[in-house]
């Protein structure tokens, strides 16, 4: 703890930098003061929000609206004025299926395969991720030595880039890799980890849990440590066992944190792309092609760039995300009331 305080209070403004900073402030002030005299204090507020608002408007808000336009226009051209209006054509194309449970019967079979892949991935990944993170957080919350060290150990992979994570595991899991060597030395046979569709799906989940669990562990641990210790003391005085205390104190008081973890991890899982893309490239076949990769391939990587179709798929994905978030928040509210 001492070390941490030192870093926070290590004042970068006490050195010559401070002189530089003050000089910069004075120059800025020289420019900004006349402006303030003209627009007034309240006017300055608008000037302060303006840069952020501008970037936000141009690169987030405006594109969100524009996405609708793309979804309802067709053709290979990028610029909106060149794109003919096609109404519901793109959405219809995505939703033309003889049997919605069989991706192959759909006109855009890749979209449906990506959708089903994403759904199974999201459910399994989030479940495993939350479970492992919770377990690790509970263990780190016990009276252990070197908590800070272990916290960092689990957190370290979070910092690694998706491409690096993918390459590390590709190297371990390849046909002649170290994991297969281990299996052979234990008397087994080499397993087709990256060649078999189900194995590839399995490892995509494991790897993303490996890379992300530290982050959620950290949040859950913070949640656990904010539960007052007196509650447990009172419970044990009343004769409650540790299992009872866990059910009556830990679970209900951790619920808000769990909800945050669930929302964040779900949103991230739905968007899974970069790690998988570098790890399997969406394969073998289309076994690990997820929604974002479908959008990326349709809009950017394919020979004919189908912006309209990709935008329509984005729209579908955004709606699902919205539903998920709203649904979970509502769920959280009702469970808090109960």
């Amino acid at each position: 703890m001492v070390k941490q305080k030192k870093i926070i209070s290590a004042d970068i403004f006490t050195t010559p930098l401070r002189v530089l900073y003050d000089a910069m402030v004075s120059v800025m002030d020289f420019v900004m003061h006349p402006i303030q005299n003209r627009v007034g204090v309240r006017g300055m507020a608008y000037i302060f929000v303006l840069p952020n608002l501008l970037i936000f408007g141009i690169f987030i808000l405006f594109p969100m609206i524009l996405n609708f336009y793309y979804a309802f226009t067709g053709g290979p051209r990028l610029f909106p004025q060149d794109r003919p209006f096609v109404g519901m054509d793109n959405l219809n194309r995505l939703f033309t299926c003889q049997d919605f449970l069989v991706p192959n019967s759909c006109r855009e079979d890749l979209f449906w395969r990506a959708a089903t892949n994403t759904i199974t991935f999201v459910i399994l990944q989030v479940a495993l991720l939350v479970l492992v993170s919770l377990m690790t957080a509970l263990i780190l919350n016990r009276n252990i030595r070197a908590r800070g060290f272990f916290r960092s150990v689990f957190f370290y992979p979070v910092l690694l880039s998706p491409v690096v994570v993918a390459l590390i595991w590709k190297w371990i899991l390849q046909q002649d890799g170290v994991l297969n060597a281990l299996i052979v030395s234990l008397g087994g046979e080499k397993l087709p980890f990256l060649i078999n569709a189900d194995w590839a799906r399995f490892w995509v989940i494991i790897i993303s849990v490996w890379a992300q669990m530290g982050f959620y562990t950290l949040i859950l641990l913070a949640g656990l440590q904010s539960i007052p210790g007196e509650l447990y003391e009172a419970a044990s005085m009343d004769g409650a066992g540790s299992v009872q205390a866990f059910r009556a104190i830990t679970i209900p008081l951790l619920m808000p944190t769990m909800l945050v973890v669930l929302v964040l991890s779900l949103i991230r899982a739905v968007q899974a792309f970069d790690q998988v893309f570098a790890f399997t490239g969406g394969g073998p076949g289309t076994a690990t092609t997820y929604m974002v990769q479908y959008i990326y391939t349709t809009g950017f990587a394919n020979q004919t760039r189908e912006f309209g179709l990709a935008a329509a798929a984005s729209l579908v994905m955004a709606s699902v995300l919205l539903l998920l978030t709203v649904g979970q928040l509502r769920l959280g509210r009702t469970s808090n009331l109960a």
Partner: protein
């Protein structure tokens, strides 16, 4: 280790739950660091060693000698003769199952042996060539430069515009404040992957395609950053600002000399997030940048692995170099980073 034993819940004896706890942590440490250690060790192996199955832990290389009269270095073997004696010989050539070998000390006499009689002489050897070759083939310094430019510029821009907006949203009453804040929070959950195509259009219209600015600017107005900083600035007492105003400070001076220094903990957390996001960003630079000389490390590394499917020795070495900078930063700041994220909250 003894300290572990004395620090248990059960008095003076090892409770089962404590053993399980430390076992879990030990296994966890192994699972978290094992793959990375394996990567680092593998990155020092030469190609023949990498192709070996089953792999060995440490990198080995067969020893070789230069013998007068032969242009290439000759590989060394330990040969076991029928009478049980062994000699270290250099192989000149191999014909079928027969190898022609010489003693480096007496290069004139050729000894013919069955190839089953010889074992390669090997020693631990760290193949630094993987790194030196990789750096030239991969353009490491160029990609590193691009990544640093993007990360530093984007983080500076993010800190500036987010903190200015957060200041206005937390310390002023003005028309549209609630709307602006509401819309910002509303898009907290909108990932860039959902609006990929229209953002790409905007970039193209502006002419930032194949330009690092096109990677830097769009993600700068992070709703997360605005939210995080605003929540923190709300805790700064208004009286401080009022007394500064009485002393004649302009709003801009208040922002620079009161708000920013006081909001340092929150700014630090946003810096960590921003550096993490930008350094590791993949999808967005992948779309904006198509010219190789503009690639960031992540995009470069991915296309590098696509170009040379089988040259693992170079790929592994470059992967290590790519994860090195962030690892060094983490090693120095880990306590600060983990506690910062844990206390100030969410991503």
């Amino acid at each position: 280790m003894l300290n572990f034993l004395t620090n248990t819940r059960g008095k003076n004896r090892l409770a089962f739950s404590d053993v399980a706890t430390y076992l879990y942590l030990l296994l966890g440490t192994l699972l978290m660091f094992g793959p990375i250690i394996w990567l680092v060790i593998s990155s020092f192996k030469d190609r023949t060693e990498l192709l070996r199955f089953p792999p060995r832990f440490l990198p080995y290389q067969q020893e070789s000698v230069t013998v007068p009269g032969y242009d290439d270095p000759l590989q060394m073997f330990t040969v076991t003769f029928e009478d049980g004696t062994t000699r270290e010989l250099a192989q000149v050539r191999r014909v079928g199952i027969e190898a022609q070998m010489i003693d480096p000390a007496q290069p004139d006499e050729i000894i013919k042996v069955n190839i089953n009689q010889r074992q390669p002489v090997e020693s631990v050897y760290f193949s630094v060539e993987n790194y030196t070759n990789g750096v030239t083939r991969f353009n490491f310094w160029l990609y590193l430069g691009n990544s640093v430019v993007v990360t530093v510029a984007a983080t500076a821009l993010t800190l500036l515009v987010n903190s200015m907006a957060a200041f206005a949203l937390s310390k002023y009453q003005f028309r549209g404040r609630e709307t602006i804040f509401g819309v910002t929070i509303g898009t907290l959950m909108v990932p860039i992957s959902v609006i990929l195509i229209p953002v790409y259009l905007v970039i193209t219209e502006i002419g930032w395609n194949n330009n690092l600015i096109g990677v830097i600017v769009p993600g700068a107005a992070t709703p997360t950053g605005v939210f995080l900083l605003r929540q923190y600035m709300l805790t700064i007492p208004d009286e401080l600002l009022d007394s500064a105003r009485i002393d004649g400070a302009s709003e801009w001076r208040i922002y620079l000399q009161i708000i920013l220094p006081l909001a340092r903990p929150a700014l630090a957390v946003l810096t960590i997030f921003s550096v993490m996001w930008r350094w590791n960003d993949f999808l967005w630079p992948l779309i904006v940048l198509s010219r190789t000389e503009l690639f960031t490390l992540q995009v470069g590394l991915n296309s590098f692995q696509g170009d040379l499917q089988t040259q693992w020795e170079l790929i592994l070495a470059m992967t290590v170099l790519t994860l090195l900078p962030i690892t060094v930063v983490f090693a120095f700041l880990q306590r600060f980073i983990t506690s910062g994220i844990a206390t100030t909250g969410m991503k």
